[in-house]
Structures are given as C-alpha cells and as structure tokens.
C-alpha cells in the first residue's frame, strides 16, 4: 500500500540521515584530536603564529567540508597534513633559492666536528652538548631551509611521519623524500654550525 511504502521509505531516510550525522561527528572528533599535531607542523612551515593559526583553520574548514572524501580507517593525520600542505602552496610561497645554488654540502659529522674543534672531543659525550645550540637558533635554521627541503624535514623530524607518509602527503616519490630529507638535515646542521660557532 502506498502509505505504508512512504512511511517505510521515510523511516529509512531518517535512519540514513542519522547514520550520516553520526559518521560525520565521529570524523570531526577524530580530526580535532590531531589539531595539536597539525599546528606543530604548520607553525614550522610559515613565519608567524598568526599565519599558522590561519592555515590550520583553513585546513580544518576544508577538512570538515570534504569529510566524505576521507576513507575511514586510513591515516587521517596524513590526510589532514595533505590538505594543509596543499593550502600552503596555494597561499603562494615566495620563490625559493634553487637548491643547486647552495654552497657545497658538508658531511653529516660537520656540526659535531665543529663543536669538538671548539670545546674538545670529550664534549661530544655530554648530554648537554646540544644546549650549545639555542632553541631559537634551531627554529631560525629550520625557517631558513629552502621550502622543498623544509617541508620534508618538518614532516619527518618534527611531525614524526614516516618517509612513506611524507611522500603521500607531498605527492612526491619516496626517493625524492629521502634525498630532500638527507640534504635538508645536512644544510640545517651547517646553518646551526655557522650560527653557533663562528
């Protein structure tokens, strides 16, 4: 009978709407749990706290609008960071220095060798030796990295993403992540050596 069919389909529709809303709320709550971690990465990709706040807000607005495109059970943290890094590119970054024009890279022991040269080989064995590097110096050195290197170093070394996740977030091959990460870390250490020990 028509009336019963309508009543059944109305009930079905109401159930669907309720299920949909429940899924959406579950999604939103999970997304908000990552806010601290998303901010931590965002803060190191832009110059000021205000820019980071704005970038994170834009990211969550986009995420909440497109929640249906997220596959439940997959890596939401990476999904959010992908939105964030894409938005960061859209914001129009300043043209960066071409990495190839960087001075010849030093090896991975460079900073340690510089510290040992000024304070002695034995200081390398001390826990506090890293405190010779000011925390502001670390922040400044990260900010000074060309952005292709900075993206990877921040995602992996600050955001604690795997190479694979970073590759997915930035939509580059994993080999590119590794190359930029290794070179980025070396440049970072070189900058720290120059800032601290000139």
């Amino acid at each position: 009978m028509a009336e019963t069919d309508d009543a059944l389909s109305d009930a079905g529709e109401a159930r669907r709407i309720a299920n949909d809303a429940r899924e959406r709320v579950r999604f939103e709550e999970e997304a908000l749990e990552f806010a601290e971690q998303v901010y931590r990465v965002a803060r190191r990709l832009v110059s000021t706290r205000e820019e980071a706040e704005e970038l994170v807000q834009d990211t969550y607005a986009r995420a909440f609008r497109s929640w249906r495109s997220f596959t439940p059970g997959t890596n939401m943290r990476a999904w959010l960071l992908r939105i964030l890094t894409n938005l960061n590119v859209d914001r129009g970054r300043k043209i960066q220095r071409t990495p190839d024009l960087q001075p010849l890279e030093e090896g991975d022991y460079y900073l340690a060798n510089k510290l040992a040269a000024t304070d002695g080989e034995q200081t390398l064995e001390q826990d506090q030796v890293v405190e010779r590097l000011s925390q502001n110096g670390v922040v400044d050195a990260l900010a000074a990295l060309p952005h292709d290197f900075r993206d990877v170093v921040v995602l992996v070394d600050i955001g604690e993403f795997s190479y694979a996740d970073a590759a997915q977030i930035l939509d580059v091959p994993i080999g590119t992540v590794m190359s930029r990460l290794h070179r980025g870390r070396r440049i970072l250490k070189q900058t720290l050596a120059e800032e601290t020990l000139s």
């Binding site: 806010a35 931590r40 706290r49 807000q57 909440f64 991975d108 080989e121 030796v129 405190e131």
Partner: protein, 83 residues
C-alpha cells in the same frame, strides 16, 4: 683519540640511514662493526641522536589558547541532526 679512515667516511655516510632504521641488513652490519671499534664515530652517532631529539623539542610549539575552540566552531551544522 681520532681515527679517520675510509671506514669512518663510510660510517658517516650511513649515519642518517642508521638512525632512521632505513639501512639494509648488510649496511647495518658494516655500521655496527665499525662503531664497535671506533670511538670517534660512536661519539658522533650519539651526538646525532641527541641533536635530533633537541631539534624536535626546540621546534615543537603548542597550539595557542582558543584555537581548538575556533576549530570546533568550523564544524558543519546539519539542521535536525540531533542525537
């Protein structure tokens, strides 16, 4: 006491991969065999571990107060979805 040889050069090249746990098993053997015998490299590997921790801690900033609330307010409103 310093020992700079081809072994130390190789060990330096393996540093990042070793700490990232991204070396092949054969490369891990090369690194660890050298590290067991070489204080110069051992000190630099330990330094690098400390440095990474320090960089992460130094560069990690907390969310400003009120941001979480602002984000929560960005949630889409669906009229009539009450439960």
């Amino acid at each position: 006491m310093t020992a700079h040889d081809a072994g130390c050069e190789k060990c330096e090249e393996l540093l990042q991969g070793y700490l990232d746990r991204d070396l092949s098993p054969a490369e891990v053997v090369v690194a660890e065999r050298h590290l067991n015998a070489c204080g110069y490299c051992r000190r630099r590997y330990r330094f690098e571990e400390r440095l990474r921790r320090y960089i992460r801690v130094s560069a990690s900033e907390r969310m400003p107060a009120g941001l979480l609330e602002k984000l929560a307010q960005l949630r889409e409103q669906t009229p009539g979805a009450q439960f």
